[in-house]
Protein backbone atom coordinates (compact mmCIF):
# COMPACT_ATOMS: atom_id res chain seq x y z
CA UNK A 1 0.00 0.00 0.00
CA UNK A 2 2.75 2.39 1.00
CA UNK A 3 4.72 1.78 -2.18
CA UNK A 4 1.66 2.47 -4.36
CA UNK A 5 1.14 5.79 -2.57
CA UNK A 6 4.82 6.56 -3.15
CA UNK A 7 4.42 5.82 -6.88
CA UNK A 8 1.39 8.14 -7.08
CA UNK A 9 3.44 10.83 -5.31
CA UNK A 10 6.34 10.24 -7.70
CA UNK A 11 4.08 10.71 -10.74
CA UNK A 12 2.48 13.85 -9.31
CA UNK A 13 5.83 15.34 -8.32
CA UNK A 14 7.37 14.53 -11.72
CA UNK A 15 4.40 16.11 -13.48
CA UNK A 16 4.75 19.26 -11.37
CA UNK A 17 8.46 19.46 -12.17
CA UNK A 18 8.42 18.48 -15.82
CA UNK A 19 5.09 19.58 -17.23
CA UNK A 20 3.89 22.40 -15.01
CA UNK A 21 7.17 24.13 -14.13
CA UNK A 22 6.04 27.55 -15.51
CA UNK A 23 3.00 27.51 -13.20
CA UNK A 24 4.84 26.41 -10.08
CA UNK A 25 8.01 28.47 -10.47
CA UNK A 26 8.66 31.11 -7.83
CA UNK A 27 10.62 34.12 -9.16
CA UNK A 28 11.76 31.96 -12.10
CA UNK A 29 13.19 29.36 -9.71
CA UNK A 30 12.21 25.81 -10.67
CA UNK A 31 10.40 23.94 -7.86
CA UNK A 32 12.36 20.63 -8.07
CA UNK A 33 9.78 18.93 -5.87
CA UNK A 34 11.52 15.65 -6.72
CA UNK A 35 14.30 16.54 -4.23
CA UNK A 36 11.72 16.61 -1.45
CA UNK A 37 10.23 13.37 -2.65
CA UNK A 38 13.61 11.61 -2.77
CA UNK A 39 14.54 12.96 0.67
CA UNK A 40 11.44 11.58 2.38
CA UNK A 41 11.36 8.43 0.24
CA UNK A 42 14.90 7.58 1.38
CA UNK A 43 13.88 8.04 5.01
CA UNK A 44 10.79 5.87 4.78
CA UNK A 45 11.84 3.10 2.35
CA UNK A 46 14.74 0.70 1.97
CA UNK A 47 18.05 2.25 0.83
CA UNK A 48 18.30 0.05 -2.25
CA UNK A 49 14.83 0.93 -3.55
CA UNK A 50 15.53 4.62 -2.84
CA UNK A 51 18.75 4.48 -4.85
CA UNK A 52 17.06 2.71 -7.76
CA UNK A 53 14.18 5.20 -7.71
CA UNK A 54 16.72 8.06 -7.69
CA UNK A 55 18.54 6.59 -10.69
CA UNK A 56 15.35 5.98 -12.68
CA UNK A 57 13.89 9.38 -11.84
CA UNK A 58 17.17 10.99 -12.84
CA UNK A 59 16.98 9.17 -16.17
CA UNK A 60 13.38 10.38 -16.64
CA UNK A 61 14.40 13.97 -15.85
CA UNK A 62 17.36 13.70 -18.23
CA UNK A 63 15.01 12.68 -21.03
CA UNK A 64 12.79 15.70 -20.50
CA UNK A 65 15.55 18.21 -19.90
CA UNK A 66 17.45 19.97 -22.69
CA UNK A 67 20.65 20.01 -20.61
CA UNK A 68 23.43 17.46 -20.62
CA UNK A 69 22.14 13.92 -20.55
CA UNK A 70 23.13 12.03 -17.40
CA UNK A 71 23.44 15.02 -15.05
CA UNK A 72 20.15 14.37 -13.23
CA UNK A 73 21.01 10.68 -12.79
CA UNK A 74 24.34 11.51 -11.19
CA UNK A 75 22.93 14.34 -9.03
CA UNK A 76 19.87 12.49 -7.72
CA UNK A 77 21.66 9.22 -7.00
CA UNK A 78 24.55 11.00 -5.25
CA UNK A 79 22.11 12.97 -3.09
CA UNK A 80 20.27 9.79 -2.08
CA UNK A 81 23.54 7.88 -1.55
CA UNK A 82 24.87 10.54 0.82
CA UNK A 83 21.53 10.63 2.66
CA UNK A 84 21.69 6.84 3.08
CA UNK A 85 25.26 7.16 4.38
CA UNK A 86 24.12 9.72 6.97
CA UNK A 87 21.10 7.68 7.93
CA UNK A 88 22.60 6.21 11.07
CA UNK A 89 24.36 9.39 12.17
CA UNK A 90 21.57 11.99 12.14
CA UNK A 91 18.48 12.12 14.34
CA UNK A 92 15.90 12.32 11.58
CA UNK A 93 13.07 13.14 14.00
CA UNK A 94 14.63 16.50 14.71
CA UNK A 95 13.92 19.56 12.59
CA UNK A 96 17.68 20.17 12.34
CA UNK A 97 17.99 17.13 10.12
CA UNK A 98 16.38 19.20 7.36
CA UNK A 99 19.82 20.74 6.89
CA UNK A 100 20.61 17.58 4.91
CA UNK A 101 17.68 18.40 2.63
CA UNK A 102 18.97 21.96 2.20
CA UNK A 103 22.48 20.74 1.41
CA UNK A 104 21.12 18.10 -0.97
CA UNK A 105 18.90 20.59 -2.78
CA UNK A 106 21.84 22.99 -3.05
CA UNK A 107 24.06 20.25 -4.46
CA UNK A 108 21.48 18.97 -6.99
CA UNK A 109 20.72 22.47 -8.23
CA UNK A 110 24.42 23.29 -8.39
CA UNK A 111 25.04 20.29 -10.61
CA UNK A 112 21.92 20.61 -12.75
CA UNK A 113 21.07 24.31 -12.92
CA UNK A 114 24.39 26.15 -13.05
CA UNK A 115 25.40 26.76 -16.67
CA UNK A 116 29.12 26.00 -16.29
CA UNK A 117 29.53 26.19 -20.07
CA UNK A 118 28.37 29.85 -20.05
CA UNK A 119 31.43 31.20 -18.24
CA UNK A 120 32.38 31.98 -14.65
CA UNK A 121 30.35 35.17 -14.17
CA UNK A 122 27.08 33.68 -15.36
CA UNK A 123 27.65 30.51 -13.34
CA UNK A 124 28.56 32.48 -10.23
CA UNK A 125 25.50 34.73 -10.58
CA UNK A 126 23.17 31.79 -11.05
CA UNK A 127 24.33 30.36 -7.69
CA UNK A 128 22.69 33.36 -6.01
CA UNK A 129 19.75 33.81 -8.37
CA UNK A 130 18.73 30.20 -8.83
CA UNK A 131 20.59 27.66 -6.68
CA UNK A 132 20.42 29.31 -3.25
CA UNK A 133 16.81 30.56 -3.47
CA UNK A 134 15.78 27.17 -4.85
CA UNK A 135 17.44 25.33 -1.97
CA UNK A 136 15.71 27.66 0.52
CA UNK A 137 12.34 27.00 -1.15
CA UNK A 138 13.00 23.25 -0.93
CA UNK A 139 13.93 23.63 2.74
CA UNK A 140 10.73 25.54 3.55
CA UNK A 141 8.61 23.07 1.62
CA UNK A 142 10.39 20.22 3.40
CA UNK A 143 9.59 21.84 6.75
CA UNK A 144 5.89 21.93 5.87
CA UNK A 145 5.91 18.32 4.67
CA UNK A 146 7.76 17.20 7.82
CA UNK A 147 5.22 18.93 10.05
CA UNK A 148 2.37 17.26 8.13
CA UNK A 149 4.02 13.82 8.33
CA UNK A 150 4.80 14.22 12.07
CA UNK A 151 1.25 15.31 12.89
CA UNK A 152 -0.19 12.42 10.85
CA UNK A 153 2.01 9.94 12.71
CA UNK A 154 1.03 11.48 16.07
CA UNK A 155 -2.64 11.19 15.19
CA UNK A 156 -2.13 7.58 14.13
CA UNK A 157 -0.64 6.78 17.51
Amino acid sequence: MRISIAIVFLIVVSLIDLAFTPYFSLLHVKPYAIILFLYFFTLKFSPLSALIVAGLTGFLYDIFSPDWFGLHMIAFSTFVYVEIALRDRVFWERMGSLIVLFAGAFFVRLVVDVPFYAGFLKSFTSVFTSVLPGAVINLLAGLVVKIIIDSTQRNAL
Binding site: P47, L48, L51, I63, I74, S77, Y81
Partner: protein, 250 residues
Protein backbone atom coordinates in the same frame (compact mmCIF):
# COMPACT_ATOMS: atom_id res chain seq x y z
CA UNK B 1 27.06 0.54 4.13
CA UNK B 2 26.07 -2.59 2.25
CA UNK B 3 28.15 -3.78 -0.66
CA UNK B 4 25.08 -4.14 -2.92
CA UNK B 5 24.22 -0.51 -2.31
CA UNK B 6 27.68 0.58 -3.38
CA UNK B 7 27.44 -1.54 -6.51
CA UNK B 8 24.03 -0.07 -7.47
CA UNK B 9 25.29 3.47 -6.84
CA UNK B 10 28.41 2.74 -8.86
CA UNK B 11 26.34 1.40 -11.73
CA UNK B 12 24.03 4.42 -11.76
CA UNK B 13 27.00 6.77 -11.58
CA UNK B 14 28.76 4.92 -14.38
CA UNK B 15 25.63 5.02 -16.56
CA UNK B 16 25.29 8.77 -15.96
CA UNK B 17 28.95 9.39 -16.80
CA UNK B 18 28.70 7.24 -19.95
CA UNK B 19 25.63 9.21 -21.04
CA UNK B 20 27.40 12.49 -20.35
CA UNK B 21 30.58 11.51 -22.15
CA UNK B 22 28.84 9.79 -25.05
CA UNK B 23 26.90 12.92 -25.86
CA UNK B 24 29.85 15.28 -25.49
CA UNK B 25 32.89 13.27 -26.59
CA UNK B 26 32.23 13.30 -30.34
CA UNK B 27 33.98 9.94 -30.73
CA UNK B 28 32.51 7.21 -32.94
CA UNK B 29 31.77 4.90 -30.00
CA UNK B 30 30.36 7.75 -27.93
CA UNK B 31 28.14 8.91 -30.76
CA UNK B 32 27.01 5.32 -31.29
CA UNK B 33 25.97 4.99 -27.66
CA UNK B 34 24.29 8.38 -27.72
CA UNK B 35 22.51 7.52 -30.96
CA UNK B 36 21.11 4.27 -29.60
CA UNK B 37 20.18 5.41 -26.12
CA UNK B 38 19.47 9.12 -26.02
CA UNK B 39 18.30 9.96 -29.52
CA UNK B 40 14.91 8.15 -29.41
CA UNK B 41 14.01 10.00 -26.22
CA UNK B 42 15.30 13.30 -27.59
CA UNK B 43 13.20 12.82 -30.74
CA UNK B 44 10.17 12.02 -28.59
CA UNK B 45 10.79 15.14 -26.51
CA UNK B 46 11.32 17.32 -29.59
CA UNK B 47 8.06 16.03 -31.08
CA UNK B 48 6.31 16.84 -27.83
CA UNK B 49 7.73 20.39 -27.84
CA UNK B 50 6.81 20.76 -31.51
CA UNK B 51 3.27 19.76 -30.65
CA UNK B 52 3.05 22.37 -27.89
CA UNK B 53 4.54 25.03 -30.20
CA UNK B 54 2.10 24.09 -32.96
CA UNK B 55 -0.80 24.38 -30.53
CA UNK B 56 0.34 27.81 -29.36
CA UNK B 57 0.82 28.93 -32.96
CA UNK B 58 -2.59 27.56 -33.84
CA UNK B 59 -4.19 29.50 -30.99
CA UNK B 60 -2.44 32.70 -32.06
CA UNK B 61 -3.49 32.18 -35.68
CA UNK B 62 -7.07 31.47 -34.66
CA UNK B 63 -7.15 34.74 -32.75
CA UNK B 64 -5.65 36.49 -35.76
CA UNK B 65 -8.25 34.96 -38.09
CA UNK B 66 -11.06 36.24 -35.89
CA UNK B 67 -9.49 39.71 -35.71
CA UNK B 68 -8.92 39.78 -39.46
CA UNK B 69 -12.42 38.60 -40.30
CA UNK B 70 -13.80 41.39 -38.12
CA UNK B 71 -11.49 43.85 -39.86
CA UNK B 72 -12.56 42.51 -43.25
CA UNK B 73 -16.19 42.97 -42.36
CA UNK B 74 -15.45 46.52 -41.26
CA UNK B 75 -13.53 47.23 -44.48
CA UNK B 76 -16.34 45.84 -46.61
CA UNK B 77 -18.67 48.31 -44.93
CA UNK B 78 -16.20 51.09 -45.67
CA UNK B 79 -15.90 49.92 -49.28
CA UNK B 80 -19.65 50.03 -49.78
CA UNK B 81 -19.78 53.47 -48.22
CA UNK B 82 -16.84 54.60 -50.38
CA UNK B 83 -18.50 53.37 -53.57
CA UNK B 84 -21.73 55.08 -52.63
CA UNK B 85 -19.94 58.39 -51.96
CA UNK B 86 -17.95 58.10 -55.22
CA UNK B 87 -21.21 57.54 -57.08
CA UNK B 88 -22.75 60.62 -55.47
CA UNK B 89 -19.69 62.73 -56.34
CA UNK B 90 -19.50 61.29 -59.86
CA UNK B 91 -15.97 59.84 -59.50
CA UNK B 92 -14.75 57.25 -61.99
CA UNK B 93 -14.90 53.78 -60.40
CA UNK B 94 -11.68 51.77 -60.32
CA UNK B 95 -12.17 48.63 -62.34
CA UNK B 96 -11.68 45.40 -60.42
CA UNK B 97 -8.65 43.46 -61.67
CA UNK B 98 -8.02 39.73 -61.90
CA UNK B 99 -4.83 38.29 -60.47
CA UNK B 100 -2.87 36.16 -62.93
CA UNK B 101 0.10 34.24 -61.47
CA UNK B 102 3.17 33.70 -63.64
CA UNK B 103 6.34 31.77 -62.96
CA UNK B 104 9.65 33.63 -62.87
CA UNK B 105 12.17 31.76 -65.00
CA UNK B 106 15.02 34.23 -65.01
CA UNK B 107 16.08 37.51 -63.43
CA UNK B 108 18.54 39.57 -65.43
CA UNK B 109 20.52 42.54 -64.26
CA UNK B 110 21.83 44.69 -67.07
CA UNK B 111 23.75 47.84 -66.18
CA UNK B 112 22.09 47.91 -62.77
CA UNK B 113 18.60 47.49 -64.21
CA UNK B 114 16.60 44.42 -63.18
CA UNK B 115 14.41 42.59 -65.67
CA UNK B 116 12.38 39.47 -64.97
CA UNK B 117 11.60 36.83 -67.54
CA UNK B 118 8.40 34.97 -66.73
CA UNK B 119 6.43 32.16 -68.25
CA UNK B 120 2.64 32.39 -68.43
CA UNK B 121 0.05 29.71 -68.98
CA UNK B 122 -0.71 29.24 -72.70
CA UNK B 123 -4.37 30.22 -72.63
CA UNK B 124 -4.00 33.46 -70.61
CA UNK B 125 -4.01 36.80 -72.39
CA UNK B 126 -1.43 39.25 -71.10
CA UNK B 127 -0.74 42.60 -72.72
CA UNK B 128 2.15 45.03 -72.22
CA UNK B 129 1.87 47.78 -69.57
CA UNK B 130 -0.05 45.66 -67.10
CA UNK B 131 1.11 46.07 -63.49
CA UNK B 132 2.96 43.22 -61.79
CA UNK B 133 2.89 42.66 -58.05
CA UNK B 134 4.41 40.22 -55.56
CA UNK B 135 3.19 39.02 -52.19
CA UNK B 136 4.35 42.22 -50.49
CA UNK B 137 4.06 44.97 -53.06
CA UNK B 138 4.75 46.32 -56.52
CA UNK B 139 7.26 44.56 -58.77
CA UNK B 140 6.94 46.51 -62.02
CA UNK B 141 5.05 46.26 -65.29
CA UNK B 142 4.88 43.96 -68.30
CA UNK B 143 7.15 45.36 -70.98
CA UNK B 144 6.95 42.76 -73.70
CA UNK B 145 5.06 39.54 -74.46
CA UNK B 146 6.62 36.94 -76.76
CA UNK B 147 4.64 33.68 -77.07
CA UNK B 148 4.33 32.36 -73.51
CA UNK B 149 7.15 34.47 -72.16
CA UNK B 150 6.92 37.91 -70.58
CA UNK B 151 9.57 40.52 -70.05
CA UNK B 152 8.85 42.42 -66.87
CA UNK B 153 10.46 45.78 -66.30
CA UNK B 154 10.83 46.02 -62.53
CA UNK B 155 10.83 49.18 -60.45
CA UNK B 156 14.60 48.64 -60.23
CA UNK B 157 14.98 49.86 -63.82
CA UNK B 158 16.08 53.33 -64.88
CA UNK B 159 13.23 53.56 -67.41
CA UNK B 160 10.50 52.87 -64.86
CA UNK B 161 8.58 55.73 -63.29
CA UNK B 162 5.95 55.12 -60.66
CA UNK B 163 3.61 57.82 -59.37
CA UNK B 164 3.32 57.27 -55.62
CA UNK B 165 1.74 58.87 -52.61
CA UNK B 166 2.83 58.91 -48.98
CA UNK B 167 0.10 56.91 -47.24
CA UNK B 168 0.40 59.06 -44.10
CA UNK B 169 0.75 62.62 -45.36
CA UNK B 170 -0.68 62.16 -48.92
CA UNK B 171 2.37 63.87 -50.47
CA UNK B 172 2.86 62.98 -54.14
CA UNK B 173 6.10 62.01 -55.85
CA UNK B 174 7.63 60.00 -58.65
CA UNK B 175 9.76 56.95 -57.96
CA UNK B 176 12.81 56.52 -60.10
CA UNK B 177 15.65 53.98 -60.07
CA UNK B 178 19.13 55.53 -59.92
CA UNK B 179 21.22 52.60 -58.61
CA UNK B 180 18.76 52.78 -55.72
CA UNK B 181 15.13 53.78 -55.51
CA UNK B 182 14.62 57.54 -55.08
CA UNK B 183 11.48 59.59 -54.64
CA UNK B 184 11.48 62.72 -56.79
CA UNK B 185 9.29 65.76 -56.88
CA UNK B 186 8.88 66.27 -53.16
CA UNK B 187 9.66 69.87 -52.12
CA UNK B 188 11.82 70.63 -49.09
CA UNK B 189 8.68 71.56 -47.18
CA UNK B 190 7.01 68.24 -48.06
CA UNK B 191 5.87 66.19 -45.09
CA UNK B 192 7.81 62.94 -45.51
CA UNK B 193 9.37 60.98 -42.69
CA UNK B 194 11.57 57.92 -42.42
CA UNK B 195 9.32 54.87 -42.08
CA UNK B 196 6.44 56.27 -44.16
CA UNK B 197 4.86 53.82 -46.57
CA UNK B 198 4.55 54.72 -50.24
CA UNK B 199 1.65 53.40 -52.30
CA UNK B 200 0.80 53.87 -55.95
CA UNK B 201 -1.24 57.01 -56.52
CA UNK B 202 -3.18 55.75 -59.53
CA UNK B 203 -1.89 58.58 -61.74
CA UNK B 204 -0.39 57.56 -65.06
CA UNK B 205 -3.03 54.90 -65.68
CA UNK B 206 -0.56 51.97 -65.53
CA UNK B 207 -0.55 51.16 -61.83
CA UNK B 208 -3.88 51.10 -60.02
CA UNK B 209 -4.19 53.15 -56.84
CA UNK B 210 -3.18 51.70 -53.49
CA UNK B 211 -0.49 49.10 -54.26
CA UNK B 212 2.27 49.17 -51.64
CA UNK B 213 5.63 50.05 -53.16
CA UNK B 214 8.17 50.72 -50.47
CA UNK B 215 9.17 52.39 -47.26
CA UNK B 216 11.15 55.64 -46.85
CA UNK B 217 14.62 54.82 -45.51
CA UNK B 218 16.34 58.20 -45.57
CA UNK B 219 15.34 61.84 -46.09
CA UNK B 220 18.01 64.42 -46.89
CA UNK B 221 16.91 68.06 -47.04
CA UNK B 222 19.70 70.23 -48.42
CA UNK B 223 18.93 73.98 -48.34
CA UNK B 224 20.68 74.50 -51.69
CA UNK B 225 18.34 72.07 -53.47
CA UNK B 226 14.75 72.76 -54.39
CA UNK B 227 13.58 69.25 -53.52
CA UNK B 228 14.38 66.63 -50.90
CA UNK B 229 16.49 63.56 -51.64
CA UNK B 230 14.46 60.60 -50.46
CA UNK B 231 15.77 57.05 -50.47
CA UNK B 232 13.15 54.31 -50.65
CA UNK B 233 13.44 50.61 -49.89
CA UNK B 234 11.04 48.47 -51.95
CA UNK B 235 8.83 45.98 -50.13
CA UNK B 236 9.64 43.31 -52.66
CA UNK B 237 12.95 41.57 -53.07
CA UNK B 238 13.60 42.31 -56.72
CA UNK B 239 16.65 40.09 -57.04
CA UNK B 240 14.77 36.90 -56.18
CA UNK B 241 11.17 35.92 -56.88
CA UNK B 242 9.68 32.53 -57.66
CA UNK B 243 6.31 33.73 -58.89
CA UNK B 244 4.73 37.12 -59.48
CA UNK B 245 1.17 38.24 -60.22
CA UNK B 246 -0.14 40.28 -63.13
CA UNK B 247 -3.16 42.48 -62.49
CA UNK B 248 -5.30 41.89 -65.57
CA UNK B 249 -8.29 44.00 -66.52
CA UNK B 250 -11.29 41.71 -67.09
Amino acid sequence: MKKSLNIVYGLILLTGVVFLLSERSGSMIGEGIAYRTILPFRIMLNNFHELIRAKEENDALSRMVVALSLKLQELREVQVENQRLKKILGFVQEQHRLIQPVQVVNILTEAGNTIMICKKKPYTIVKPDLPVVGYNGLIGKVKEVVDDYLRIQTIAHSMTRVAVIDSRSRVFGILKWEAALYLHGVPLTGDVKVGDTLVTSGMGAVYPKGIKVGIIKRVIKNKNDYQATILVEPFENLSFQEEVFILVKP
